[in-house]
């Protein structure tokens, strides 16, 4: 009566999909978009990744990186929300840091409501000398490392993780099962952790980084093998901080020069590699592939 069922592995679906998407994307990508302009990574005593306004950043030359449409993978973002980002880079022999500065009039640092989308920026790091192929979030054989700063995580770090209380102070709930003994308005994501009842919040239960009860850094380290394959790196050793300027955001990001995780980009002082940048504007509902990526990849030249 019952047909035999052959469960298939989630991974296999993903690999297959990644491959297809990757191929399509490479085709869509211009053959040589490398314009030679590189990012010079100045060596300093310490990368001030905790202070975007620290004078040390001034030691690095600012490169204005043009941002363009994301027209390689669907859904696309044909009109970039942000058109340029000013980049500075430093290393201190143990960490490499970036300072990204861009204009965005609206602050979007909430992801509570359905209509809330975050401001964010990311640095893509990959081997090769500005290998254009790698603009596709790495490739099946060459992983890319992504340092992703999120305005909502920054808010969590600065003010503690809040949710509904930020947007709906007048909400009313009888009770949150199974937290019978907590006043409903005092219930927050941490309450489920404390009560050992995380299964009531699936994202939290499976330890999705988006759902983490608290964030110690606003920057996520992720690794990708092409479009649609990005995953959070096992070791989260990035640091950073973003602050508002008069015109927009100024964000410091850093990671160790070495690579703690499989596929993670490791740097040698004096060596050249590939980097790219992207900015998301919540005001324009940017998220995921809807972003403003740098038009080209850039050479990343570390000072000895």
């Amino acid at each position: 009566m019952s047909p035999t069922v052959q469960p298939i592995s989630r991974r296999s679906i993903l690999k297959g999909a990644a491959a297809t998407a990757g191929v399509a994307a490479l085709a869509a990508c211009a053959p040589d978009s490398f314009d030679g302009s590189g990012i010079h990574v100045q060596r300093v005593g310490r990368v001030p990744d905790d202070d975007p306004n620290h004078h040390t950043w001034g030691a690095a030359p600012a490169t204005t990186v043009a941002l363009g449409p994301q027209d390689m993978v669907l859904p696309q973002k044909l009109v970039p929300s942000v058109t340029e980002v000013r980049v500075r880079a430093l290393h201190d022999g143990s960490r490499i840091g970036f300072l990204l500065e861009w204009d965005d009039a609206d602050v979007n640092d909430l992801t509570v409501r359905n209509e809330d989308f975050r401001d964010a920026c990311a640095v893509l790091l990959a081997p090769g000398e500005a290998d254009a192929a790698l603009r596709t979030m790495g490739a099946a054989t060459i992983p890319a490392t992504l340092l992703h700063w999120k305005a909502d995580w920054q808010r969590d770090v600065d003010f503690g993780r809040k949710g509904l209380e930020d947007v709906y102070p007048n909400r009313s709930i009888d009770v949150y099962t199974p937290l019978w003994n907590v006043a409903p308005l005092d219930v927050e994501i941490g309450s489920y952790v404390d009560a050992g009842a995380t299964e009531w919040l699936p994202g939290l239960h499976v330890e999705n980084p988006m759902s983490a009860a608290e964030h110690t850094t606003p920057v996520e380290k992720a690794i990708a093998y092409g479009f649609s394959t990005t995953f959070t790196a096992p070791t989260q050793d990035t640091r950073g901080r973003g602050v508002r300027t008069d015109k927009g955001w100024k964000v410091a990001i850093s990671k160790p020069l070495g690579g703690a995780d499989e596929g993670e980009m490791a740097f040698q002082p004096g060596a050249t590699s590939t980097c790219a940048f992207a900015v998301w504007s919540g005001a324009f509902h940017d998220a995921g592939s809807r972003k403003a990526p740098s038009i080209t990849v850039h050479a990343l030249n570390l000072a000895p």
């Binding site: 509904l164 947007v167 709906y168 102070p169 007048n170 909400r171 009313s172 709930i173 009888d174 019978w180």
Partner: protein, 874 residues
Amino acid sequence: MVTGQQSLDFDLSTAENSNLITLWGMNWIATKMPEGHWLTEARLHGAKVVTIAPEYQSTTCKADRHVTIRTATDSAFALGMAQVIMRDGTYDEKFVKHHTDLPLLVRADTKALLHAKDFIPGYENDTLTTVQVIEPGEAVALAAGQDRQIVTSELREEWGDQVVWNTRTGAPAVVTHDNTGDNFPRNVDPALEGEFTVTLVDGSSVKVRPVFDAIKELLDSSYTPEQVEMVTWAPVAAIEELAADIAANPTKTLFAMGMGPNHFFNNDNKDRAILLLAALTNNIGHYGGSVGSYSGNYRLGTFGGITQWTTEDPFDITLDPEAPAKSKKHWKGESAHYYNYGDRPLKLGNKMFTGHSHMPTPTKTMHFANSNSLLGNAKGHHDVVVNTLPKIEMIIHHEWYWTASCEYADVVFGVDAWPERQMPDVYGSVTNSFLQAWVVTPMERVFETLDDMQVNALIGQKFTELTGDQRFTDYWRFVLDGDPSPYIQRVFDAGNATKGYRFSDLHESCKKGTPFYMMFRTSPKVLGWEQTYESKPWYTKSGRLEFYRDEPEFIEYGENLPVHREAVDGTHHEPGVIMAAPHPLLIPAQPSDYDLDIDDLSTEMRQVRHVMRTAEEIAESTHPLMADGFSHVLYTPKYRHACHSMGASTDAEVLIFGPFGDFYRHDKRKPWVSEGYVDMHPDDAVELGVQDGDYIWVDADPADRPFKGWQDNPEAYHAFRWMVRARVNPSLAPKVARAWFHFHVSSYGSVEGHESREDGLARNPRTDYQSGYRYGSHQSVTRAWLRPTLMTDSINRKEAYGQKIGKGFELDVYCADGAPKESFVKFTKAEDGGEDGTGTWHPAAQGFRPGSENEAMTKFLAGGYIETQGSSNG
């Protein structure tokens, strides 16, 4: 009033045996949800469904025919169809002659039924075989052992024997209480029409005529389809066609009422009229063909042996769990509606309208359990709070969450919610066939509560402590010992439908989810089945379905014949009047007879103002308040999202109750995560300058609402004048408005709450009582009324339990009732509906609400987003 029985009912499952199911206001799929599938499945089996209401109601979307009638005109609508059926001669002559009083003769002089002793010298009332005649005070068997009706010799004599005109002999013939159905005398063929002369024992002669003839004259003169359309709004075609359908479906037409928008002051007239329609067409007592007046699970009589529990002699308590209790009633019932009416009887002018058997005693203490309708959601609740409660010394209430009743109680006992009950219990229903045990829950109590029964038992125990009298404790012995099953078993053993069952077996079975069948005579249970199929008498004097009421009170009040009376308050026309052209048998007492002014149309007077008007006169008349801008009949029926008078009580429940649910309370004015509302027709809203979602003030007759004396009590008036959300609803007929009955009313504390709390919740800062309104409630526009015909000492009726027939007051059977859901109101815009307090409510502003539809919505309504070409093979 027709059957001598509390009222008729049938298990709703018998819908599948029916051809035609007529729903008189009863919103079946919304107020009997568990039985909803019987209705839709009856249609699958071929039955046709008809809804009759002042709205396109929930159930209308399952109906084959719908008739919109004006609120509380069901009686006129039914009598209009009766007129058509009598006119066309499509009634069932045999049923009418054998089972109803329509052939019985009425005297033109006294307006009373002709009795054998009136014209047969020395006549001795017949010895009845269908009735056990007992001497006053003589003991009777428990219900389970009663083999026939029981009546005292006194009452039997009072009944006398009635008379018909035998067309075979051209002379009067006696028909007794025994002579119903097949027991009707073979040699008698009673006349239904005509006028005859009978010579009385004193030699004088009197004109007599059959009840049928008297009713026909009334209907032909006052209830033609054209006249009925004027009053009910029902098109003539609807009256003619539905009457024809019903007549074409004898034994297979169901009439269901109750819980509907027609729960008005005069609604017993509706029941009499519908029963007449059903009797004319032989639609009483059949599977799939009968009358059901379902209005809550009111009938404790389902458990005929209940007296074992309610009347055990407290001075002679039986502690042997296997032995039956010794019954001796030491308490007297009283209708709660007197307390609701300011704790007084109905006395107006020179007349006391409340009969001796009904007379209430002043209320000193109230002790009730989970019955929010008694106080928290009582009709005229705010008047009770302001004017009646101060006169009551103590109120004790059992509840599992904080209701408005708790707000005003002196003592509140926190008891188990239903799923928490750790004592077994038992229940049945008037509308399904099942006997069900309340299974002892395996669930732990959330709070430190007790079972209702335990509270009472512990109070008894305390009395023992105070008085040293052990009987206070012994009266609750099995409860205190932890297992009340013996009490339940005693009830089973004494009851007609339960004897033979062991409660322990039922409990085990219900644990697995399987109830037992109630052992009624038939399944499905159809009240009247024995009367119709086995010629058992009804519980009336004549043993017949009685449509003529010859008790002096009914003659005095102009209701000796079945009539329509305009609503006492909820009508656009002259309130309370009797719809009838002059009729020789309808000569009611006039206000002047009570030393009252006939032009006095004030609310109190309307209860006893027996003024007759023709349909034409009613249609032309207007409600006295219309001049002051009052415009809408407002009714407050029950709905699907909450249970009876227990308001919608959880957040998720009210979230989907109506159109205003919002957990996040984008609009801080919202009293809770949802709120009550008043539905009104889009055109009415435009006329009133009210937009969908606006807040409005709703005022009823300033003479007594929101409460008597509001003019001198600004604090209470501030709290209890009703402010509510307006909802534009195309399903409601123009000029009628609706507010569901289940939202929690405002209390002083809930008002203080939204006026002082940061979050604006209408929640009492001290008790956490949560109101469904900011100010007042749907009960701000209702009030208590007392109906003279429900307070006589002369009506005969079966007692609540068993087969004994008595007369006058009987709790839950014949007493002041009604909980009328009616009022005539004025709407005034209070605030904009926009979430920020100004402008239009979001969905309307977006163009997706009736009356404010945008282009896309208009196209959608027309199905304009698809075109088809060619033919479809599906």
